[in-house]
C-alpha cells in the first residue's frame, strides 16, 4: 500500500461493515440479556 488514500479506503470500508454488523448483533444480544425480565 503506497498511499494514505488506499489505506483509508481499505480501513474505512472495513470499519463500516464491522460497525454495521455489530449494531445488528446488538439486537439479539439485548434480547438475550433481557429475555427473563418478563418472567419476574
Amino acid at each position: 500500500m503506497y498511499t494514505l488514500f488506499d489505506f483509508l479506503t481499505h480501513t474505512k470500508g472495513m470499519t463500516y461493515i464491522v460497525a454495521g454488523l455489530l449494531l445488528v448483533c446488538f439486537i439479539p444480544f439485548w434480547q438475550f440479556l433481557t429475555e427473563r425480565e418478563k418472567h419476574d
Binding site: F5, L8, T9, K12, G13, T15, Y16, L23, I27
Partner: protein
C-alpha cells in the same frame, strides 16, 4: 374512517372545491418548478443555475440539503425525548415532527436529484462502487437509511387510517429500536455534513472553519429541530385547529418546554463556537469585515434567540418562544448558507462570487411548497394532529 377525519376532510376541501386561492398559488409555483426542472434536464445545470467551476455548490445544496437536514432534526429530537427519555407530555408533537422530518429528508433527496449531474446514479455509492473515505458517502448512507427509518416511523398514521391493526402493532413494537437507530443515524450524518468542510481549510473562512465543525453542525441541528417543531406547531395548530385534541393549555406547556430545550441547545451551540475561537486563536479576526458578519450570525441569530427562549420559558410566554424559534430557523439557514457559498471561497478564489439564479430560488420554493402540500394532504386524512380513537394510548 373515523368521525374526526371526515370532518377534517370536509373542512379542508369542502369549501369551494379545487379552485381555492391556496391551490391556485401552489399550482403556479409547482408548475413553474416542474418547467424549470425540465429545462435543467434538457439544457443542463448551466441554463438554470449560477453554479461555476469555483462555486460548484449553491442554493440547492445550501438550502435543500444542508438546511433541510438540519431543520428536519425535530423528528429525532422529539421521538428520542418521548420514547427514550420518557418525556411523555411531548407525545402530541412527535407525529407532526416525524412527518415534517420525513418530508424534509424527502426534500433533501429531491434537491439532490435536481442538483446532481447524473441523478439516476444516486444509488451508485451503494450498488456500484463505494467511496468509504468520503464524508459524503457517510451522509448518503445515513440519509438513505434514516429516510427509511422515518418512513417506517410515519407509517403508523397511515396504518391507523387504513385500519390495519396487525401491521400497526408490528410497527409499534419497533418504536424503540427505530428511535435508537434514528438517533444514531442523525448524530452521524448531522455532524458529518459539517465534517464535509473539514477538507477545505484553505477555502472556508477560519471563523467558520473549525476542527469542531461536525459538533457545530450537530448542536445547531438540535436547536434548529426544536425550533422547527415550534414553528411547525404554530402553523399547523392554526391550520388544523379543529383536529387538535389536546387543550390549548397543554399545547402551550409543550411549547414552553420546547423553548427550554432550544435555549439550552442554543447556549451549548454558542459555547462550542466560542471555544472554537479560543482553540484556533481567531479573536483578532472578529475585528475584520468577515468577523462582523460572523458576529451578526452569532449574536443576532444564536445568542439573541437563546436569550429570548430563556425569557419565554421563565415568563411562560408562548409568542416570544415562537419569535425566537423563527429567528433560530433563519439563523441556522444563514449558517448553512454562509458555510456553503457565502464565506466559502472568501479569499483568493478565481472568478465571481456565487449568487443564486432566480430559477434556483424558484425550484427551492417549489420544493418547500410541495412539502407543505404533502403535509396538508396527509394531515387532512391521517391521524397526525390527533390520536386515532381506535388506537388510543399506543405507540
Amino acid at each position: 374512517m373515523s368521525h374526526s377525519t371526515m370532518t377534517a376532510d370536509s373542512a379542508a376541501e369542502g369549501r369551494g372545491g379545487l379552485l381555492t386561492p391556496f391551490n391556485l398559488i401552489t399550482g403556479v409555483i409547482l408548475a413553474g418548478g416542474a418547467a424549470i426542472l425540465v429545462l435543467r434536464f434538457v439544457k443542463g445545470l448551466a441554463a438554470t443555475t449560477n453554479l461555476t467551476h469555483t462555486n460548484p455548490w449553491g442554493l440547492w445544496i445550501g438550502f435543500d440539503v444542508m438546511s433541510g437536514v438540519a431543520l428536519a432534526a425535530g423528528g429525532f429530537v422529539t421521538s428520542s425525548a418521548v420514547y427514550l427519555f420518557g418525556m411523555k407530555e411531548y407525545k402530541p408533537v412527535v407525529r407532526p415532527a416525524i412527518l415534517t422530518g420525513f418530508l424534509g429528508y424527502f426534500l433533501v433527496v429531491l434537491g439532490l436529484l435536481a442538483d446532481l449531474g447524473r441523478p439516476w446514479r444516486l444509488p451508485y455509492p451503494f450498488i456500484k462502487q463505494a467511496g468509504p473515505t468520503s464524508p459524503l458517502f457517510e451522509v448518503a448512507l445515513c440519509v438513505a437509511i434514516y429516510l427509511t427509518v422515518l418512513f417506517i416511523e410515519s407509517t403508523p398514521a397511515a396504518l391507523e387510517w387504513l385500519g390495519l391493526k396487525w401491521w400497526r402493532k408490528v410497527v409499534g413494537s419497533m418504536t424503540i429500536a427505530l428511535t435508537v437507530l434514528g438517533l444514531i443515524l442523525s448524530t452521524m450524518h448531522q455532524s458529518t455534513l459539517g465534517a464535509m468542510y473539514m477538507i477545505t481549510p484553505t477555502k472556508l473562512h477560519p471563523l467558520w472553519y473549525s476542527a469542531h465543525i461536525p459538533v457545530h453542525f450537530f448542536v445547531s441541528a438540535v436547536a434548529a429541530g426544536l425550533a422547527m417543531v415550534i414553528v411547525e406547531g404554530m402553523i399547523s395548530h392554526r391550520a388544523f385547529h379543529h383536529q387538535v385534541q389536546i387543550t390549548d393549555e397543554h399545547f402551550q406547556r409543550i411549547n414552553i418546554g420546547l423553548a427550554k430545550g432550544a435555549a439550552v441547545a442554543l447556549a451549548t451551540y454558542f459555547a462550542v463556537k466560542v471555544v472554537g475561537l479560543a482553540m484556533e486563536d481567531e479573536w483578532h479576526l472578529l475585528l475584520t469585515g468577515w468577523g462582523g458578519w460572523y458576529l451578526v450570525e452569532m449574536l443576532g441569530f444564536v445568542l439573541l434567540p437563546c436569550l429570548l427562549f430563556a425569557m419565554a420559558y421563565r415568563e411562560r410566554r408562548v409568542l416570544l418562544a415562537r419569535l425566537a424559534a423563527v429567528i433560530t430557523v433563519i439563523g441556522v439557514m444563514l449558517n448553512r448558507f454562509n458555510v456553503t457559498f457565502v464565506v466559502f471561497n472568501w479569499d483568493g478564489a478565481p472568478g465571481e462570487r456565487y449568487v443564486p439564479h432566480w430559477m434556483e430560488v424558484w425550484v427551492t420554493v417549489a420544493f418547500i411548497t410541495f412539502a407543505v402540500v404533502a403535509f396538508r394532504v396527509i394531515a387532512n386524512r391521517m391521524p397526525i394532529m390527533y390520536e386515532h380513537p381506535d388506537f388510543k394510548g399506543m405507540h
